[in-house]
Subunit: 271 residues, 2 copies
């Protein structure tokens, strides 16, 4: 139901990354798979999850989807290691271990380098061929007909920084992940509890807002989104206050809201 509201086209979902096999991170899958089937999906669906997901999928098929018209391919997350688990033309996805009551993984979505934008005024000025334009976009320098070396940096706009987003839920404060999260643009990190309940957080394998902020600060991420709040607290403002004291660029995760990582061009050092 939430996915429908988000207006994301169901047919465009081909990969599902599941952090761990607790109900609040799994149950939505059943309805989604059934809906895919009802809508006549043919494309295979890739699920990245703990190997026990196999049993869950078998159960699902036996009881609720004897006629499943698309293939489900399970990619088991086994070892506690940082690993690239998915790659396509524009993005890498890394899995990395979290620290929870059951095996759990975070996911890092890292954009690949974008092709360089060639300066249109210079294309006109130098009358580049298609081949030359492709070379420039690929980062090469050009020697023109007069034998002048035209350096790539002068022919192109400064490149965009590839963007990066990581998702960490559910997990205790786990400082080891500072490494994988270093300098990313956006971190979603769970903040189930507030600092006065940090013992409860530890006991249940969750984090406080303070801990999420601390990890964001140590890793030097640009922005932090916190969520997964326990419903023992009536308002989310206390979470924001607690996190912002340490890491001001914190936002509250709001259901169905879209968070955009702006494209930024690198600054070039002039020569």
């Amino acid at each position: 139901m939430q996915l429908r509201k988000s207006k994301i086209k169901f047919g465009r979902i081909n990969n599902i990354f599941i952090s761990h096999l607790h109900g609040d991170h799994v149950f939505g899958l059943f309805g989604l798979l059934s809906t895919f089937n009802l809508l006549g999906r043919k494309n295979p669906l890739h699920i990245y999850a703990h190997p026990d997901m196999e049993n869950i999928l078998v159960f699902f098929r036996e009881h609720f989807a004897e006629d499943l018209f698309f293939k489900i391919e399970l990619h088991p997350l086994v070892k506690r290691e940082v690993k690239i688990i998915y790659e396509d033309r524009v993005v890498w996805v890394y899995a990395f271990p979290l620290k929870h009551r059951v095996p759990a993984f975070g996911f890092l979505f890292k954009e690949k380098f974008r092709p360089l934008n060639i300066r249109k005024d210079l294309v006109e000025k130098y009358q580049f061929s298609i081949k030359q334009i492709q070379a420039v976009k690929a980062g090469e320098d050009i020697t023109n007909d007069s034998g002048d070396l035209l350096r790539n940096e002068l022919l192109t706009e400064p490149p965009y920084y590839p963007r990066s987003f990581a998702y960490c839920s559910d997990t205790s404060y786990y400082e080891k992940n500072v490494e994988i999260l270093r300098n990313i643009d956006l971190l979603y990190h769970e903040a189930t509890f507030l600092d006065p309940d940090k013992d409860l957080a530890k006991l249940t394998g969750h984090s406080t807002a303070l801990q999420a902020a601390k990890l964001a600060a140590k890793a030097g991420v640009r922005e932090l989104i916190i969520g997964h709040f326990s419903n023992r607290y009536k308002q989310t403002s206390a979470f924001l206050r607690e996190a912002c004291a340490i890491f001001p660029a914190t936002k509250i995760a709001e259901e169905l809201k879209t968070y955009t990582i702006e494209l930024r061009r690198e600054k070039r050092i002039s020569h």
Copy 2:
């Protein structure tokens, strides 16, 4: 999530009636049971469903709820018969067979007779004792100290009609159920398709809006609510039009809307 929005207190839910074991009628249960557990539920929960629900509950417990702090009691719906499956101080619940691709049951919720309302002016006039008041509420006549017979009908307000509601989803048109649905106040009946797709309705074990209306008319119910519309149709107005042509007192089921059956007093024939 929908139940939260409905403001119904989770602790007041002690009985869950499941028509059949298709995903769209079952998957919501997992999250609900997990939430009950998280909220510290202690009271047993009664589930009325096809006997295969046992396997589903076993799976749920093994994979998602090893620590379940309340008891789940399954009441299997086995035979294709009309049967009272639940009773308390105010209501009976009947199960009755539907006609679908898998075993499916409808449910009839039938209010018990309410105690009579004694006329307060007469309590004062005749100075009834507590015992006499109880007798009047139970429907008895009273002989007062002067030896006059005071007939119950004159001492009480006309009684309320007990209210009744039936839920029929998912099912083909199944005329046999006219009997159990006879003269009820409110019928919810599925209407997955429109009349031009009646062959598809038959094939998939569903009904058209026309068929739902026909059943409502034959049974002489007071009001009909239709729902479970296939998303092949863009608007619900066509369903309403089709049903109202045969049964004007039809409404469209709207998510989270409350439908109230008004209390009506019986009319007495004067003596």
